[in-house]
Symmetry: C2
C-alpha cells in the first residue's frame, strides 16, 4: 500500500484528464475504484470524486457541498438509514480539522455545469471549510461537507518539498494559522505533544479529532526569516497562539512564561533553539 | 470631527489620485495633514500614507513593512530615541488585533517601484498581519508592521452596508474567523461582553488590546443561511470557537454546555434566538 499523499500528485497537474476510475487509481490521484472518498479515519481524506452519486450534492465550481457515504441500499441506491461519522465521513471531517488539502475530481456523470464531457478531470485542491449533518431529501440524516477551492497559485509561494512521495504544502503564512496547511515538521511537533498546548496543557477535542496549532517562534518570511524546523515550532492552543502573537504572553530565558503564570512544557525529544526564543522576546514583548 | 471610517471611502475607489495631502484629507481618505498614521488608540488606525519617511520601510506592492512614528528629531529627521507603542503606533497594532482594514496611500516621494509619479494614489485596503519592534538602522528601537493587501474583489462577496458613514465589510466567511472583518453587529456583541468568552469568561489581553471572536450560531452562507444579527452571534475565545465549530462543545436548550461543564453566560441585553440554537444542535453535534 503506497503512502497516502495529501496535495498534488507529481505529474498530474490541475485539469489532468482520465478515462476511467481505473486510470485515476493507477495515477494515484484517487486510489479507490468505487468509493467516492479516499482516506482513513486516522490520516484524513486525500481525495474525493464528484460523480453525481447523491441527490443533495451542490456544485458551484470553487465551492462544493458534498454528501458523505453510507446508509444507502446497495440495490436501489436509496438512503435507507442514517449516515454515521465513521470511515470516509470521519476521514473527510478529519481533513477539515487538520487543514489537510483534498484533491477533487469531477466525473462526467455529475449533474453540474462543471462536469467534464467525458471521463474524469482533476480539479485541484480544496479545503474542508465546514461539515455538519442534516436530514437529506430521504428523511435520513447525512453528513455534509463544504469544500472551498484553494488558490491554484499560492499568494506567497512557499512550496515545501518533503522528499519523494511526500506532499508539497502551500503555506499561506500571511493569512491565518487555522488556514495553514502544516508542514511535516509542524505535524511531528503536534503529534509529539499529543495535541496538548505547551503553555496550558489544553487539548481541544472535536468530533473528528483533536485540534492544536503550530506556532513559529521566530516568524517565517521576511524580515524575520525564521526556519520551518522543529527547534522553531511550538505546539499551542489557539488562545495561547493569539496571546503569543500579540505580545500577551512570552517565554523567558528559563522557559517561564512572561505575562502569565507557569512554564513552557518541553518534551525531552524537542530541542528548542535559544536564539529563536531570544529573537521572539526582543521583538514581540514590549 | 467626522466619524472614523474603516474601509473604502465612497466615491474614492482603489487607484484614485490626489494632488496633495490637503486633497487626501478633504476626501476623507487620509485625514491628518502631516501624520503618516490616521487613527486613535481606542478605535484603531484607518489609513496610512507611505511617503518615504523612514529608511527602514520596505515595499513589495501587496506586502509592505512599515515603520511606526515617534523618536525622531524634528530638525534632522533622525531617529534619536526609542519608539513607543502609543498613539498612531498603538492604533495600527490595534487594527491588527481587531482585524480592521487599513487604507494605504502611496506618495511620489516613496522610494519604491510602486510609488506614483506624482502626488498620491489610494492603493486599497490592507490588513495588519504582524507587528513587532526592532532596532532600526539608527540603533534605536522602532515598531514595525507588516501589511498585506486584501483582495480587491472579495472571493465571496458579502458587502454589508451599515448605513451612511459606516464602512462596508468584506466578510470572507469561507476562510477563517481571525481574518474576518467583523460587522457592526459582531463588534457590538464583543463590546457588550467586554471581550470575555461566553463559555469560559476568558479575556485574552495583547499589547494592543483585548482579543475575542464573534461566532455565528447558525452559520452564514448557503446552505445554512444564518443571519448576521446579534441574536445569532456569540462572543467566544478562540479555543471555544474551535470547539463550537467542530462539535466539541454545544449549547443545550437550557443554555448548559454540551460536552463541557458550565453554562453559556448571556448578557441581559443580548437576546439569543432559540431557533438558531436548535439549528446548531441538530447540525453540529453528533
Amino acid at each position: 500500500m503506497p503512502e497516502r499523499v495529501f496535495g498534488h500528485i507529481p505529474g498530474y497537474p490541475e485539469d489532468s484528464r482520465f478515462e476511467s476510475r481505473a486510470e485515476l487509481s493507477e495515477a494515484g490521484v484517487h486510489r479507490p475504484l468505487i468509493a467516492g472518498i479516499s482516506g482513513s479515519e486516522r490520516e484524513g481524506a486525500d481525495s474525493i470524486v464528484l460523480s453525481g452519486g447523491y441527490e443533495d450534492d451542490e456544485d458551484l465550481g470553487d465551492e462544493v457541498v458534498y454528501t458523505g457515504h453510507g446508509g444507502r441500499d446497495a440495490e436501489s441506491g436509496k438512503q435507507v438509514a442514517h449516515q454515521r461519522l465513521t470511515r470516509g465521513n470521519l476521514a473527510l471531517a478529519h481533513s477539515g480539522i487538520e487543514g489537510l488539502p483534498v484533491r477533487v475530481i469531477r466525473g462526467a456523470n455529475l449533474d453540474s455545469q462543471y462536469a467534464p464531457r467525458s471521463g474524469y478531470r482533476y480539479d485541484g485542491l480544496y479545503m474542508v471549510d465546514d461539515y455538519w449533518q442534516e436530514s437529506g431529501r430521504s428523511g435520513f440524516r447525512v453528513w455534509r461537507y463544504r469544500l472551498i477551492k484553494l488558490p491554484s497559485i499560492p499568494t506567497r509561494v512557499d512550496m515545501v518539498s518533503e522528499g519523494p512521495g511526500a506532499y508539497s504544502t502551500q503555506r499561506r503564512e500571511t493569512t491565518v494559522q487555522r488556514l495553514v496547511r502544516d508542514t511535516a515538521q509542524a505535524r511531528q511537533i503536534k503529534a509529539l505533544y499529543d495535541y496538548q498546548c505547551q503553555m496550558c496543557g489544553t487539548r481541544l477535542e472535536g468530533l473528528a479529532g483533536p485540534y492544536v496549532e503550530a506556532a513559529h517562534i521566530r516568524p517565517l518570511g521576511a524580515p524575520h526569516n525564521g526556519p520551518d524546523t522543529a527547534d522553531n515550532i511550538l505546539c499551542l492552543c489557539p488562545n495561547h497562539h493569539v496571546l503569543f502573537d500579540h505580545g500577551g504572553v512570552g517565554i523567558g530565558e528559563d522557559l517561564s512564561l512572561v505575562g502569565a503564570d507557569g512554564r513552557l512544557t518541553v518534551h525531552p525529544r524537542h530541542r528548542i533553539d535559544e536564539g529563536h526564543l531570544l529573537y521572539r522576546r526582543e521583538h514581540y514583548l514590549d
